[in-house]
């Protein structure tokens, strides 16, 4: 780790203890498949975890949301539009600035304080997932800052962050075409697993070399459900085209299932706000 003069540094070389724990548990293909077939939390394969949503959690931000998807916890806040810094040209469309960050203690392996390549990539994906949903022509030459922080990563962190961000944008009364829902699915040997946990994600990326390639990988799809538009599609792994096409259907269906949950959470937050206002006036 490079020495960071602005922080308190530990010793030069430290190793996570987890590398010493499962030295001889070489996972066999059968075991992986078994673990994925019967999920630890007894969910069906097309079932997403219970969600917990709170809107308006950060008092200092214009809009904010906290979303729990099982054990995955993400907090996101949005601030007032400000002029795009260091820009000479006038841009007719407003911009979104997204920062996606894992808290250092959020993952199995400790993350550094600076954004790493993965986090930068996720920030860009978040930006692209949200841009089609925001009426950017309403605030030309301004940018809206969106910060998402993953406090606990138990899989599907990116899709949870995108949903938190879209709720935070709505909470900040940024004009939008609709709410973005995002779903992650992992695939292992023709098995679709919606909303994977951290362990399931890791299993699907770790493949066993076989003569015939097996379908495996992760797909994240962000959607504007009420307009039936895909705002972001992100796939890694290896699979054939028919498989990808059928997963688009499944992902869209799940998005449509999640959408009312987000809508209800927003509705409740607005009712609460009105109630509070009425009380104050009294």
């Amino acid at each position: 780790m490079p020495n960071d003069s602005k922080r308190i540094n530990g010793p030069d070389a430290t190793v996570p203890y987890s590398i010493y724990t499962n030295l001889n548990s070489e996972s066999s293909e059968l075991l992986i498949k078994n673990q994925l077939q019967f999920r630890v939390d007894k969910r069906k394969h097309n079932e997403f975890r219970k969600m917990f949503i709170r809107i308006g959690v950060v008092s200092q931000a214009k809009g904010s949301a906290y979303v729990e998807m099982g054990q995955t916890r993400v907090i996101c806040s949005v601030f007032d539009p400000r002029e795009i810094p260091n820009k000479a040209q006038y841009s007719t469309q407003g911009e979104l600035f997204c920062e996606f960050k894992f808290a250092p203690f959020a993952s199995c392996k400790r993350k550094g304080h600076q954004q790493d390549a993965e986090e930068k990539e996720y920030s860009l994906i978040m930006q692209r997932a949200l841009e089609p949903a925001v009426c950017r022509h309403e605030f030309p030459n301004f940018q809206v800052d969106i910060y998402a922080l993953v406090l606990d990563n138990d899989g599907s962190a990116l899709s949870t962050a995108i949903m938190a961000a879209s709720l935070a944008l709505a909470n900040a009364s940024v004009p939008m075409f609709g709410i973005v829902t995002a779903v992650t699915v992992v695939i292992y040997d023709d098995l679709f697993i919606i909303d994977p946990t951290y362990k399931e994600e890791a299993l699907c990326l770790k493949t066993i070399k076989k003569l015939k390639p097996v379908n495996h990988g992760i797909i994240m799809q962000a959607m504007l459900s009420q307009h039936d538009q895909i705002s972001e599609f992100f796939l890694t792994g290896s699979m054939d085209i028919n498989f990808v096409n059928s997963s688009i259907d499944i992902l869209s269906k799940t998005s449509n299932e999640i959408y009312p949950v987000l809508q209800e959470a927003l509705r409740k937050s607005i009712l609460k706000m009105i109630k509070k206002k009425n009380q104050q006036e009294k």
Binding site: H216, I241, I248
Partner: protein, 291 residues
């Protein structure tokens, strides 16, 4: 990407052309421009390639070094991509202008090669837990004339195809320390197994249809594009959406079908071109990148 100011009339003209499957330069929607590809043009690296497609010019060099493997994947080698957008390519790359684009390209490449189906990193292992090969793939964008993703991916594949890794004569563990001896003969080398290396196909949605290999002008007319990495056997190793627009699920499916078809064809063409170049032998004339 490089901004080219286009008037509304110009955009409409391009759009109508694409609707009629007859583009400004006479191509159909699935046609690529002519490509020039040359490998092994630089002596100081282990593998190199240069690709020119239309006005886009890309140079790729592959360097090989010995490194220690990551503790969580002790039996694998390492592969790293680095993209440099030269300020010569287009004025908007001056200073740190090209940095975002460069990051994006290297990320997409890393994703495309991530699956063990696409690139088997175990072939880069020398001694598990101790030593492995690390491939540095350096990509220099010399000129930017649209469709950077596809151009870079083809050049990378060609460069990796031409890469020669020194042969390891013996690798033993000596009291916990790795002891490695390389072959004395510099011509004795190992080639990478490139059968499954993917290429990228970007499909730009313009109007109601998608086109491959857009020129810079056509890129300006597109609000969304899909970058698909296709392996020679037709499997997909990554998909990324670019641009600020959104797409309908059925459009996405159709686009993916089209992309895979184009990708398989393109892969075949490139492999046969590389084979033809090999047949020319060691004494062929090298044109190089400075013409």
């Amino acid at each position: 990407m490089a901004e080219i100011p286009l008037s509304l009339a110009e955009k409409t003209f391009i759009l109508h052309g694409i609707d009629a499957d007859f583009r400004n330069d006479g191509r159909s929607r699935t046609h690529y421009r002519c490509m020039e590809l040359e490998t092994k043009l630089m002596d100081q690296v282990h593998g190199s390639a240069r690709l020119r497609i239309g006005n886009t010019d890309v140079l790729v060099g592959v360097k090989v070094e010995i490194d220690t493997p990551y503790p969580d994947s002790p039996g694998d080698g390492k592969l790293e991509f680095f993209v440099d957008c030269s300020a010569n390519a287009t004025p908007s790359f001056e200073g740190r202008g090209g940095e975002n684009l460069a990051n994006e390209i290297s990320n997409v490449l890393a994703l495309a090669y991530q699956s063990p189906d696409a690139m088997d990193l175990t072939q880069l292992s020398i001694l598990p837990h101790k030593k492995c090969w690390k491939l540095f793939v350096d990509i220099l964008i010399l000129e930017c004339g649209g469709n950077l993703f596809d151009a870079v991916a083809i050049a990378v594949k060609a460069a990796l195809y031409s890469t020669e890794i020194p042969k390891v004569k013996c690798a033993t563990l000596d009291g916990g320390e790795a002891d490695i001896a390389l072959s004395d003969d510099t011509y004795e080398s190992v080639k990478l197994d490139t059968t499954n290396f993917p290429i990228l196909v970007s499909l730009y949605k313009i109007g109601d249809s998608c086109v491959v290999d857009p020129t810079s002008e056509e890129e300006m007319c597109s609000s969304a594009s899909i970058v698909i990495s296709v392996m020679p056997n037709g499997r997909i190793s990554s998909i990324v959406k670019m641009g600020y627009g959104s797409v309908h699920p059925t459009t996405l499916s159709k686009t993916l079908d089209m992309g895979t078809k184009v990708g398989i064809e393109l892969n075949n063409e490139i492999i046969s071109a590389l084979k033809r170049e090999d047949e020319l032998g060691l004494n062929r004339e090298i044109i190089g990148f400075l013409r």
